[in-house]
Amino acid sequence: MRLRIIWLIQSFKTALIMDKKLKLIGKSTPKLDGSERVSGRAVYGHDIELPNMLHGMILRSRYPSARIKSIDCSEALELDGVECIITANDVDVNRISYKRDHPVLKGETVNCQRDELAAVAATSRETARKALRLIKVDYEVMEGIFDPFEALKEDARQINLYGKGAESFGNKNIAESFTYSHGNLEEQKKNSRVIVSRRYRLPRVTHCCLATSNITADYSVLDGRLTLYASTQVPFLYQRDMAHALKMDPSRIRIIQPTIGGGFGSKLDMYPFEPICALLSMKTGKPVQLLYDREEEFIASPTRQTMVIDLTTGADAEGKFTFREVRIIMDNGAYTSWGATTPFVMMQTYSSLYQVPACHFRADAIYTNNPFAGSFRGYGNPQATFSVERNIDLMAEELGIGKDEIRLINANYPGEITGQGLHFKTCGAKPALMKVLETSDYERKNREKQNGRYRRGVGLASMLHVGGGAKIYRSDGCGTRLKLDHYGYLTIVTGSSEIGQGSETVLAMIASEELGIPLQQIRVINTDTDIKPWDVGVHASRTSFVAGNSLLGAIRLLKDKLNLKAARLMECETGDFLYEAGSIRADQKEIKIDKVVREMHFGSPNELCVAEYFYEPPSSFQDKQYMGDVSGNYAFASQVAEVEVDTYTGKVKVLNVYVSQDVGRVLNPVGLQGQIEGGLAIGIGYALTEEMIYEKGVLQNPSFHEYKLLTPVDMPDIHFYPIETLDEAGPYGSKGAGEAPLIPSAAAIANAVSDALGVEFQSLPLTPENVLRAWSEKRQHEPANSRKV
C-alpha cells in the first residue's frame, strides 16, 4: 500500500514536471565558450603575462624521508636575475590542508618526495632553475616507511609530526578514521548461504590534467591586496585556506579563475605551491608565476587513494544480500588532503548500493612517506565499487545463479530508505540494469565460453553516487545574481565554476528556456570572487544541480518584477505569462522584454531589472554515526563491458561498453554524452593501463611515455542509454552526472576479463603482465588432461 502511494505521488510529480513543453532543455547545445577554446583564444593560467612578472620555482626534497640540517641559499642569491629565495625560516605562515598537518615550506623534516624546501623568484625560468641547483641542503637521511601496515606497527616512528592520530584514533600514524554500521551483522551472517572474503588492492593513479598546475600571484604593496589567478575548482574555500595560510584577511584576497585545463577533483585542495607563489609575490612586490612542468606535475600533484580493502559479503540461498563487512587501509601519504574523506562516499556504496540489511565499515587513512593522495573524480567510489562488484560475481558463481539475476534481485528501488538513511525518492537502478543487460545481450554472451587465443568476456557492474551535491561543508549552497539590461541581454553572475564540464552552457540554456532570451544574448560571469556570490565549489557532481536550482530561484524573482511591469504595460491582469522569442505574452497581447526593462529603468518609479537568490539544497548533515540523507538526490548507473583478451600477450581490448545511467533528466545531450565518454576513458585507463610506480617513495614513471593514458585508438564503442526519472529536487528533474560514468567501469572490465579467462583479479590495473601472470597460474593449476589445446 505504502509503495503504491509513493508511486502515485511520484507519477504525479513527474506529470507536473513533464507538463511543461521545453524548447531548449533536452536539445544538444554546443558549449557556450567553445569557440574561444577551439580558436586558441581562451586564456589559461599558462598564458597569463603581467608586466614586470617574475618566475617562481620550487626546490623539492632529494629524499622521501630526512631531517634537514641546513639550507644554504647564499650562492643562489648571488645569481644575476634572482630576486628572492624563501625557505621555512623566512616566512610566517600557518600549516595548511584538511587536517592542518602540512607545512607550506618544510624546515625540520621532509616526509615525501614532493616536499618543498625552498622557492626562488627570478626574472626567467632558466635563471630560477639555475638558482635551484645552487641551493645546498644538508640532509640527515632517514629510513622511510612506505607501507601503511608497517606504519601501523607499535614501534614505527611518527611520520607526520603534526598528526593527531594518537589522541584521536589510538595510533600516531592514523590520519583519519571512519567507522559506520547498520543492521545486525552476526544475525545476517547466520542467514547467509554463501560468504565471500577477499582482499583487494587498488593502485595509485593521477589526474593528468592536460594543463599542468599553475598560479600567478600579484600582490600590491600599495593596498596590501593579493590577486591570485588560480585554477581552483573551489574558489571560496580556497580564498579562506589561503588567508589562513598567509595570516591575512580573506577579503583582501581576490581569486580570479583563468580557463582551467582540466580538473577532475585535483583542484579541490590548496597545495603548498600556491601560498608559496603568493609569498614570493609578497616578498618581491611583483607578480610571480609558477608553472609545473610535466614531470613535476606527476611528482607533486595529488593522486587517487591507493588502498587495501578487505571485504566480506554474504547472500542467502535465494541470492538476497545479507551483509557487508569492510576494513579499508588507505595510504594517506605524508599529509592529509580532502581526499582522506573519501570513506564518506565509499561507505554509501557499501551500505546502500543494492539492498544491504547489515553493514559494518571501517576505513583508516594511514600516514606514510609516500606522496599524499588528493581527491579525484569518483572520490573513493571506483575503489569501493570495484570490491563490491567483484564480490557479487563470486557470490553468484558460488550460489549458481546468474550474475545478472543476483543484481536484479537486490537492486535499489524508488522510495527506498537505506540502512544509512539515504532516501531514494527516485531511483533508476533497476531500469538501468535491465537496459544494459538487454542492449548488450549479456545473458547470451555470458553463457558462451570461448577457447583459442582470443577470448571474449562480458562483465557487469553498477554504481550509486550522490546526484544532488553532498553536504560536507556548512553550506552546500550557491548564489546567483541576474541582471537583465534594457537591450534584452542577460548577465548571470553565478557562484559556481566552469572547469570544462559545461556547466556554463547548462546555466545559459536554463535562462534561455525560462526567459525566452536567445543564448547569444546571455553572458555567464563566474570567475572572480570579488564579484560572484558564495558557492562551495565544483565537487560531488553538484554544479548543474545546485547552481541550476539557484538560477531558477533567481529567475522566478526576476519574472515577478517583469510580470508586474508587463501587466501594467499590456493593461491586463498579472499572471504566469509566456516568455518566448524575446517577448512576454499574455492571451492576446505581447510586449518585447527589452521594452519592459526600459520602462522599468526609465519609467517611474525607476527600478532595476535585477534579482538575486541563494539556493541551499534540502540535504542534511549526517550525524556522528554518518546516518542521514546527505544528498538532494542520488544517481544510479550500470555498465556492461565486453572485452577480448589475447591469451598469448595478456592484452585486454575493450570492445564495447554499454552504459545506462539515471540522470534524472537529460539537460544537454551532447554535453552529457561528453561527460560519459570522458569519464569512461578515465575508468578504462584505471582498469587497464594507469599506475604510478613507486620505489621507496620515489616515482619511477613521471612522464606520459611511461604512465600510459588511453589514446584515440584505445576507445571502445560506447552505447549510452540515459534513464530519466525526473527527480523533483533537481532542475527540470535532473541529477548530477559527472562522476558516475567512471565509477563502475573498472569493476565491469575486471568482471569481463574474469569471465573471459575464468581467473580472478583482486587488483588493478589489468596490464598485459598482470593478466598473463594470472592466466599462466591458472594453467599450471589445471590438471593436464583438462587443458584444451
Partner: protein, 171 residues
C-alpha cells in the same frame, strides 16, 4: 646565453618574418614567448601529448621537440592562423564545436591543426580515411576530458569533405 644567435627567415600565419634566435631555442618558445601566440599549448614538453602541434610546411609537428632554427625558409601555421576577420573559424573548428568535441579545450588547438593537416594531405592524394586510420593518425594526441569519441566524430565528419587549404594561401 652567450651562444651565437642565428638569423632565420620564415613565414608564420602568412606573414614573412626574420628573427635572430638562439640555436637551442625550441619552436614552442619562439611561438609562445617571443611571438606571444598563446594558442599553442605546452602539455608535456616531451613530445607525448600533441597539445603543442603546429603545421610546418604542411606537416603537423610537435613544436616542443622542434628547434626554432629549423623553420628557416619554411611556412609555419599556428592555431591563430586559422582565423581571419572574414572567416573567424576554420571548418575543422566548426566540426569540433558541432560535435561537442571540446571540454577544457587545452588539447583542442593541437587536434584541430592535426586534423587540418590530415585533411590537406588527403585532398592532395584524393582519399577519404577510415575512422580507424584517423584514430591512428591522431594517436600522438592526448585528451583527458572527452574520451576522444567526439573528436573522432568531428574529424571523420570533416575528413569526409575536407577543404584544401595550404598553409601558404593566407591573405
Amino acid at each position: 646565453m652567450d651562444k651565437k644567435q642565428v638569423p632565420i627567415s620564415f613565414t608564420i600565419n602568412g606573414k614573412k618574418m626574420t628573427r635572430q634566435v638562439n640555436p637551442s631555442l625550441l619552436l614552442i618558445h619562439l611561438i609562445r614567448d617571443e611571438l606571444k601566440l598563446k594558442g599553442t599549448k605546452p602539455g608535456c614538453m616531451e613530445g607525448e601529448c600533441g597539445a603543442c602541434t603546429v603545421i610546418v610546411d604542411g606537416r603537423a609537428v610537435n613544436s616542443c621537440l622542434y628547434l626554432a632554427v629549423n623553420i628557416d625558409g619554411k611556412q609555419v601555421n599556428t592555431i591563430e592562423g586559422l582565423s581571419t576577420v572574414e572567416r573567424p573559424l576554420h571548418p575543422v573548428q566548426h566540426k569540433i564545436l558541432e560535435h561537442g568535441a571540446v571540454q577544457c579545450g587545452f588539447c583542442t588547438p593541437g587536434f584541430v591543426l592535426s586534423i587540418k593537416a590530415i585533411g590537406d594531405e588527403c585532398v592532395e592524394q584524393g582519399i577519404v580515411p577510415s575512422r580507424k586510420e584517423i584514430a591512428k593518425e591522431l594517436e600522438g594526441h592526448l585528451c583527458r576530458c572527452t574520451g576522444y569519441v567526439k573528436i573522432l566524430d568531428a574529424a571523420e565528419d570533416y575528413l569526409a569533405h575536407p577543404i584544401l587549404q595550404n598553409s601558404s594561401d593566407h591573405g
